[in-house]
């Protein structure tokens, strides 16, 4: 079993160098585009502008966040809405993924999978405008309801939380379905059949066999969807308008409208902390590790 391999160390070193070379672009990308900007973000967020070109170390940006209810209300609201959107996406995506992976066979399966992809061939902006065309006061749904005699006047279906939620779930669906389909594809049919054979029904088999097996896919789908939702700017702003109260909108306002980079940075950093914390908590609660999820 442990026969000494004289060439082992040489091969090992060669391998290491190869890996290092291949990983260089990745490392450069990580350092230059992820790590450095975030360190800078942290530094900027921890200074106070005294006068033109003069800065001092201070927590004032963070204090501002905690003392202004609008800010942290938006923060908490964004987090809850994102968690809810993630949960809804999972709830809708799971049966869809199960159907694609386990019920469909052969060609029909690929076709259905492609159909799920089609909405993503147009940009998020266009997709969201699509919803606006349907839901606005003078939109398709409103007209239809009036024509059918169900309502008296035009109805406005934009600019409320339900619409934001619909938009967010719709936008995220693919990112949930893809990892779920791939993890469910790897579940051997005989494991499911054995579950029924051992006296299970659809509910117990799903709970005790399918979900435990799909857990890594569920976790990775949820992480991606949660992060995308939390950091989404377009969908909440377009569908929710001014009432969207999405935290990214606050960051945008600080950076672009008010040109207050210090507060903007602090908010950006807080958003990063929030998403990291919730992802960590989610993994802890579901007893998954990040490596399970990725691998």
């Amino acid at each position: 079993m442990s026969t000494p391999n004289p060439t082992g160390s040489v091969a090992g070193n060669g391998l290491k160098l190869g890996v290092l070379l291949m990983a260089t672009p990745l490392l450069l990308w990580l350092v230059l585009l992820v790590l450095l900007p975030h360190i800078d973000l942290l530094m900027v967020s921890l200074r106070e502008r005294i006068s033109y070109g003069k800065y001092e170390f201070s927590f004032v940006n963070y204090i501002e966040f905690f003392t202004e209810p609008l800010y942290w209300n938006t923060y908490v609201r964004t987090a809850t809405m994102s968690i809810l959107a993630t949960a809804l996406t999972l709830l809708i995506g799971f049966p869809v993924a199960y159907y694609i992976a386990k019920v469909m066979r052969g060609r029909a399966k690929n076709v259905l999978f492609l159909l799920c992809l089609i909405p993503f061939w147009v940009s998020e902006l266009v997709r969201t405008f699509g919803w606006m065309i349907l839901l606005r006061e003078s939109g398709v749904v409103s007209h239809f309801l009036q024509w059918a005699g169900l309502v008296d006047g035009p109805v406005e279906m934009l600019y409320n939380d339900v619409t934001i939620m619909v938009g967010l779930v719709y936008t995220s669906m693919l990112f949930m379905v893809v990892p779920l389909v791939s993890v469910l594809d790897s579940l051997d049919d005989s494991l499911i059949e054995a579950g029924y054979d051992l006296g299970g029904n659809a509910f117990t088999v799903t709970r005790d066999i399918v979900i435990p097996h799909a857990m890594p896919g569920i976790a990775s789908g949820c992480i991606v969807v949660f992060m995308l939702t939390l950091g989404n700017y377009l969908t909440p702003t377009l569908l929710g308008g001014k009432s969207s109260l999405w935290f990214t909108d606050q960051i945008y306002t600080q950076f672009i409208t008010r040109f207050n980079w210090e507060t903007g940075s602090a908010f950006g950093f807080l958003l990063l902390v929030l998403s990291s914390f919730i992802v960590w908590l989610g993994l802890k609660l579901s007893r998954q590790t990040l490596s399970d999820t990725v691998g």
Partner: protein, 372 residues
Amino acid sequence: MADLKLNQIRKSYGAVDVLHGIDLDVKDGEFVVFVGPSGCGKSTLLRIIAGLEDITGGDLLIDDDIVNHKTPKDRGIAMVFQSYALYPHMTVYKNMAFGLKLAKTDKAALDERVRAAASILQLDQLLDRRPSELSGGQRQRVAIGRAIVRQPKVFLFDEPLSNLDAALRVQTRIEIAKLHQKLKSTIIYVTHDQIEAMTLADKIVVMNAGQVEQVGSPMQLYHHPKTRFVAGFIGSPSMNFTRVKITASAGETVTVEMPGGATATLPFSVPAGDIGKEVELGIRPEHVELDRTGDLPVTGEVEVVEKLGDSTYLYVRLENADRVTLRAPGHSRVKVGETVQAAAEGGASHLFDGAGKAYRKTNCPAQYSADE
């Protein structure tokens, strides 16, 4: 404990018919083996019995109840899957307890039954392991244990030994036979391996292309195959076949013309209408003996010699280019290229008509008969 009855069971996938009307009776406590070439529908039939596939036509009865539309859960049947189908996220104990947990068995009874099954299968030491930490043979035993704890009316096994290496396969085969003696439960076992079928079965069901060819005890199938397919499938090395022509039929005997032009008179009852027809004559390698004379003489050159220790198989090429396999004693010194003479008794042979159905043998010597 249960009787099982299959009544004209048919199964189609879309336009493809897989099973064409299967009739079968399985008695309480019987060990029944479905055997047949790959793709003949054995697994499909087993899965129909388990309730994992819908029945297209016909009825399935357990203890005289039609169970066509009952879920697997309500049939009292436990299946051991070819791939074992153990749950990777559960320990051996949990895997074995899973069925009882679903049945809401109380904790103490559950524990007792799991431990009892574990001790029968020598899994006591492994209860806390995960399936990934077990060898193939151990996984197989867990899969069997998971079925045993449920105390089902019928056990179903789908090629349970096919993923094991040769030595382990023999050992596990013996364990399954012992288990059957101990539990005295009804077992339906699927395999494509005729040796497994011969060694384990009380009753063998030979299947071919979605149909039952013959049902019988291992010795009945060996000595009295009803079709050419069964004759060729059961026995190793398989039976020799040659085309012969019927020249005369006299009630209890028939005269056939062999490929070389010689004639032989054999103990079969052949209708007069079949005179002049080409039929097939079969004879098992172990029934052709060297250096003797008999109703069916064979002379030819040895092409291949296979020495198995206790016996030697000779692959002989006849003058008319037909090939015949015969069994010689283990101490035989016959070499490749030698010309040998051998012969078989007419009573050992089998005769099949154009459709592959066996003619009735009128006089069967005791050593070629399954009758006690």
